[in-house]
């Protein structure tokens, strides 16, 4: 991986053996082959990645009707966006769902990973495999089954609440309850997957660190706090950033629960992505929808940055 590799006469590694001269034929064309191998990605990215992004930025400055009427309107889409209460409501809903799904999920996944980490655990592969099952289900199927489970009158969750003497909760008309319901679907689908990622990172932490911590008389919690957590710093950042990108794209669950692209009667489930599709396909405002897409991208970038800085700080405090 180092620079010496690149200059080495031997294409495969830095140390050049005498036989390296014989590699002539392979080496001569090596970079040509390499460019040939990586070109499909860049070609495809150019057509289906970069070009659409650039074009999206372009049409965000237009009033763009798919049936033909296009007019340059400068930054009007963006000024309209920041003054559009529907946009802020969608942002609020998205963040509410994101928070309810991310934080409990991280804690539960870390907890599960620590349990699975125990070398004395019986049938470890069995438990790991079971935890991954929800992840193979489609978001739509999850939304359908949980939509029924969260049903107001006959949903299993409300039936159980009723047996325990509580009132039924309307997970559709009550925004907060609905956000928690959607967050539950997301958590159900991802918590096992993330537990496995944390588990892999935990196993990679050298045992000596735990041993010396134990010699220093660290409790199990202290070991977790001062050895495990800093060791997982990058992994946690990674998981949260990936989860955030996914979280900002949430739309199948709210669409199924509300049954409408507007996200329900009081737009209580209108997420950013759902709002984008509403503008694109229901209202046919491509320019405005493109502006929403750009706003989503900015939010992703800002959150990724905050995540990155925050986990850095927490971890560096932990390692003091």
């Amino acid at each position: 991986m180092s620079n010496t590799t690149l200059r080495s006469p031997n294409p495969w590694r830095a140390s050049s053996k005498p036989q390296a001269r014989k590699l002539g034929q392979l080496k001569k064309h090596e970079s040509r082959w390499a460019f040939l191998f990586i070109s499909p990605f860049f070609l495809m990215f150019l057509v289906f990645g970069l070009a659409p992004v650039l074009f999206s930025t372009y049409i965000a400055f237009f009033s763009w009707d798919p049936l033909g009427d296009t007019k340059f309107i400068g930054i009007d889409n963006f000024t309209y966006l920041v003054n559009d209460s529907r946009f802020w409501q969608a942002t609020g809903n998205t963040f509410s769902i994101w928070a309810f799904s991310t934080f409990p999920q991280m804690i539960l996944a870390l907890f599960l990973a620590s349990v699975l980490r125990n070398p004395k655990l019986r049938a470890p592969i069995f438990w790991r495999t079971l935890l991954l099952i929800p992840n193979i289900t489609s978001v739509l199927a999850v939304a359908i089954v949980f939509g029924q489970l969260f049903g107001r009158d006959f949903g299993m969750i409300n039936v159980v609440l009723g047996f325990m003497g509580f009132q039924h909760i309307d997970f559709v008309s009550n925004p907060l309850a609905g956000h928690i319901a959607i967050a539950t679907m997301i958590t159900w689908r991802w918590v096992g997957y993330n537990a496995l990622i944390f588990l892999a990172a935990m196993i990679a932490i050298p045992n000596e660190l735990y041993e010396s911590a134990e010699l220093d008389g660290a409790s199990r919690w202290q070991q977790f706090r001062y050895v495990t957590l800093p060791g997982l710093r990058n992994t946690i950042t990674f998981v949260i950033i990936v989860g955030t990108i996914g979280g900002l794209q949430v739309f199948a669950e709210p669409l199924t629960l509300s049954g409408n692209f507007n996200g329900g009667d009081s737009r209580q489930f209108s997420t950013l992505t759902l709002f984008l599709f509403e503008q694109m396909f229901v209202e046919q405002k491509y320019g405005y929808a493109a502006a929403i897409g750009i706003a989503i991208t900015f939010i992703v970038l800002i959150i990724s940055l905050i995540n990155f800085l925050l986990t850095r700080r927490i971890a560096s405090e932990g390692s003091k």
Binding site: L6, N10, P11, W12, R13, L23, L26, H29, E30, S31, A34, F35, F37, F45, V47, F48, A51, P52, V53, F55, S56, P66, L112, V115, N118, P119, K120, R128, L132, I133, P134, T137, S138, L140, A141, I144, G147, Q148, M156, V159, F163, L196, F198, A200, A201, I203, A204, N207, Y210, E211, F238, I245, Q249, A252, T256, M280, Y286, A289, G293, V300
Partner: protein, 290 residues
């Protein structure tokens, strides 16, 4: 295979000095999580086989009823489910095979070949993963229209033939699993670059490549947003779009919808029985090195 055998013990962790017993509470948590993981699948089947009336009473029936075949027939009457299965398989298999091949070649180049800009370009590839897909979705839709791919499976297959994630994944796998000595030996034998990849590299990474293929297949099977946008006639629907079609405009027939959801999920559950362990290994492998 031998590589895996030597790696396996590490995956279990071997902390001899810490003689922690597994508390019953840990097992209780795992059993609870296992129940939570399985229950929704079971519930899909219960509702689908009981009919909506049975479900709309208190307490609801919690054991399967006798009507699953009837619900299946209803699903078949409402949407061309077999056609949707075939479409989904066409898309899933094409995407999986293409990703293993193209991402494998690109990953090989990034892991083992020397060329100018190697380090910058892999960073570019990682950077592209940060872009949310919504950003380009409108131009993509327009582009599909211009290509004449709206309402065709091309719209689902072609943009997914090669992904940044796949390239990065294959790079990590080839970097960690293919020893340089093996490649040196190959080149001493006079094998060219392409031959080295197909005859030497690929057999070593076959098992991990399969995991990438499986994840691509699952991803394309479960993809909902993009197919929903580009597919229009029922004959071209994928499974997800087809079962979405079961939602009525005014009322939701739970038995019908859960039947559809179950039928869309059962093949994956069946597949999971055979490949679940591999997928777990794949998730964990990707995590350590990523």
């Amino acid at each position: 295979m031998t590589l895996q055998a030597t790696r396996a013990p590490k995956l279990f962790g071997s902390r001899k000095s810490l003689k922690k017993k597994v508390s019953p509470l840990s097992y209780l948590l795992l059993i609870f999580m296992a129940f939570v993981s399985i229950f929704p699948f079971y519930w899909m089947f219960v509702v689908a086989s009981s009919g909506s009336d049975e479900i709309s009473k208190i307490p609801p029936s919690i054991v399967p009823g006798p009507r699953f075949l009837k619900v299946m027939a209803d699903v078949y009457a409402a949407v061309p489910f077999n056609q949707a299965l075939i479409n989904t398989l066409i898309v899933g298999v094409s995407v999986a095979v293409a990703q293993v091949f193209f991402c494998g070649l690109a990953g090989f180049a990034f892991a083992k070949l020397n060329f100018k800009g190697r380090r910058v370009l892999i960073l570019v590839i990682i950077g592209t993963m940060m872009l949310p897909s919504q950003l380009g979705i409108i131009p993509m839709f327009i582009l599909m229209g211009n290509l004449g791919w709206i309402d065709t499976l091309y719209a689902l297959i072609v943009p997914a033939l090669i992904t940044a994630f796949g390239v990065f994944w294959m790079r990590q796998i080839i970097d960690s699993q293919v020893p340089n000595e093996l490649l040196e030996a190959a080149s001493l034998d006079g094998a060219g670059v392409l031959r080295t990849f197909t005859r030497i590299v690929f057999p070593v990474i076959r098992s991990s490549a399969l995991v990438l293929g499986l994840f691509s297949f699952l991803g394309s099977w479960n993809d909902f947003l993009w197919p929903l946008l580009v597919l229009q006639t029922p004959a071209n629907f994928t499974v997800q779009v087809a079962i979405n079609q079961l939602k009525g405009s005014y009322t939701l027939d739970y038995a019908l919808n859960m039947g559809g959801a179950f039928m869309a999920t059962a093949p994956l559950l069946l597949l999971f029985i055979f490949v679940g362990k591999r997928l777990v290994g794949g998730v964990m492998d990707g995590a350590v090195k990523g």
